[in-house]
Symmetry: C2
Subunit: 136 residues, 2 copies
């Protein structure tokens, strides 16, 4: 074992996230596809430094479980919050938000989308560099 | 950093799990308490070697995300399955099952309980040593 490796890698990186809804390099590994029994979609998401998703909402809400690195979370109209490994974010239904890596660190989270019978995600505008750089 | 430490510890161990529903030493850290908005309870569970929960069902189903170690999962009437870091188990509503560490390794998983508006858990009988030792 090479101890310079990232010891917290739990899942394979998966597929490149679609550029339409992400800025920078993001990898998505689907862990639980949505179905009509569990009503819950779960994915592991790896953001390279500087990468983020676009503003969006979830009709059924979302939970982020940070498993590695450092990243940002912002709700519309509020300051950016810094997140680290072990942090958990509960996002109520309909709250406009984005998440991604910090400027200097990669960022990995598990994203849990419950209540998918209400819908999965509504994508909105991109997070601009000005918005992303507003972190203090 | 001491490289002999477990590098995959993401969350604090939390509280000892109640002996009524667990055999051996188990630690539970609540990550997302149930509420009426997300309808989803999430906990991190650490089983010491040989430890397991009792047979039980979830009215809304459950998803297990294995983050460290090696453990067992069994559905009633089926053989025990061996689980490792990175494995994900989807448990449909009402399916009787138990999970826990292997004989020789600790085991850590995130447990996601969706659809909690249908109920959380129904505890049943203990997993006997004979059942636990049936792993081949």
């Amino acid at each position: 074992m090479n101890i310079s490796e990232n010891q917290n890698t739990i899942f394979p990186k998966g597929e490149r996230a679609p550029g339409d809804y992400f800025t920078g390099t993001v990898w998505i590994k689907m862990l639980v596809p949505n179905d009509l029994t569990l009503n819950c979609q779960i994915a592991n998401v790896v953001f390279e430094p500087g990468a983020r998703n676009s503003w969006h909402t979830h009709p059924g809400g979302q939970i982020l479980i940070v498993t590695d690195g450092a990243g940002y979370y912002q709700e519309k109209g509020k300051p950016i919050q810094l997140l680290h490994k072990g942090d958990v974010v509960n996002i109520p239904p309909g709250v406009e938000h984005w998440h991604g890596a910090s400027h200097v660190s990669g960022f990995t989270h598990i994203a849990v989308n419950p209540n998918t019978q209400k819908g999965m995600v509504l994508w909105l505008e991109r997070v601009t560099d000005e918005e992303y750089n507003s972190f203090k």
